[in-house]
Amino acid sequence: MEKVGIVGVGQTTYERSKEAPVDELVFEAASKALKDAGGDMGHIDNIITVSNDFWDGRTISSMAIQDAAGSWGKDISTVEGDGTFGTFYGMMRILSGSFDTTLVVSHMKGSEGIMNLITNAMFDPIYQRSLGIDATSSAALQARLYMKMSGATEEDFARVSVKNHKNAKNNPLAQLAMDITVADVLKSKKIAEPLKLLDCSPISDGAAAVVLANEKGAKRFKNSPVWVKGVAHCSDAYSLGYRDLSRAPALAEASGRAFKMAGIKNPLKDLDVAEVYDAYSYMEPMWYEGMGLAKEGGGKDLIRSGATEMGGELPVNPSGGVLSAHPVLVAGMARLIEAVLQVRGEAEKRQVKGAKTALAHGINGPCGQAHCVFIVGS
């Protein structure tokens, strides 16, 4: 396969409520990514935007931010899903042979709509919505089943929250950087059992962008690319009632294919750092198992061992993860950007020493219906 790399990355800060409208957030992120790449909009062959109509409150929401994304006179297309899936599509457009470079932008203003109404609306209107089911209450169901299957406890989930909020203190873009204890998480407000407030990611605003290029396109930019070594995505059933919610077979499939492409045999050993989509604390150990970092039911042991803390065998979410800022649709791209910065050695105070190979993970749909896994390396 032709090589595709990430040659520039850009992000806004992530905040509960940002003053700028969506187009300005997109312009900021895209400008930063091009500056980081050492190029300008003239070097971009085509653009992918990532947006969702319910969150933006507009029909065909992608149209509203295309000027700000630099689409004038260019080929542009859209993904409605996580930014990792948008990046995957951006890569495919290069691999199609039609383009040498792609700019991918994603944005979210969680502050402008009503989050639980919007996530309730992702469920089936005929049989499920009237429960009031939303992202958080469905996550509680999954957390409950995962605890029963794996033996993981609420304390284990609290450890994830403590670790990631602490890591966020080294990330100037994060929204919730905090020193908290396991006890703080356990006694935080009950949201939907077994989840408490500090097990849940916040509502966030922000935008991110990446510049992708093949070897020919990369020559247009001053910066050197971090190469995509492996990538895959896979989806499970839409209805929660059709799935085994305690396991993540779609993640096992996606990560397995990405590892094979990247030549990774033992991910716990071969990866230097991982950024995973911890929308809720319990997801992190569950995703460990899905990715084969731990055996089934072994996610709790990995978090208890400290192996995924900074300085451990495989630091997970040095950025603070999604628990520390959750701009939906942007959040997976933010994971990918952190992976790129780690491989470049530019992650400042949160740098994992000598990181050469990094994993980034994004999800779509309730309880991780679909997973996208990137392996990037120098």
Partner: protein, 157 residues
């Protein structure tokens, strides 16, 4: 010709009165535009530093040049109809629930000093007056709240 009998009963689920409220931020540029309209009945655009086009209402990015625009310039409350129509079907404004009386005219109006056009209602449904190129002038509401509807309509001159 007769009504064909349905063999099966096909059911549907209604959304009822479900609503999805939003609160869209307008940013610094939109805030300046709407505040000047509300407080001073003044209209402002923003000028692109590269191509010199004046955008009304103001936005931060000139898509054509992919350049940031920060220079506010005043524009007149008079202008010209760029395109118009007289609508014969009713429409309920989703933000206010107010239904327009039918028929009503609306147009895209290029204000004097602007390079882009804004949409608004016209005071006339006379097809002899409502024409491309006709001169118009903004009529402001007495009570203004900080929205484009602080202009009541454009009077066709």
């Amino acid at each position: 010709m007769t009504e064909q009998k349905q063999e099966k009963e096909l059911l549907a689920i209604s959304s009822g009165d479900a609503a999805q409220p939003f609160r869209w931020s307008v940013g610094k540029h939109g805030s300046k535009f709407l505040a000047e309209l509300r407080d001073n009945k003044k209209l402002f655009g923003v000028k692109c530093p590269k191509c010199g086009r004046v955008y009304v209402p103001p936005r931060m990015v000139c898509g054509r040049c992919w350049a940031q625009m920060d220079e506010f310039v005043p524009v007149k409350d008079t202008g010209e109809i760029v395109v118009c129509t007289i609508v014969q079907f009713s429409f309920v404004d989703p933000n206010t629930g107010i239904q327009r009386p039918v028929p009503y005219g609306y147009a895209f109006v290029k204000l004097d000093g602007a390079d882009t056009a804004i949409p608004h209602f016209l005071d006339s449904t006379d097809p002899d007056k409502v024409k491309v190129g006709a001169r118009v002038k903004a009529v402001f509401e007495e009570k203004r709240t900080g929205s484009l509807m602080d202009i009541k309509h454009f009077a066709v001159l």
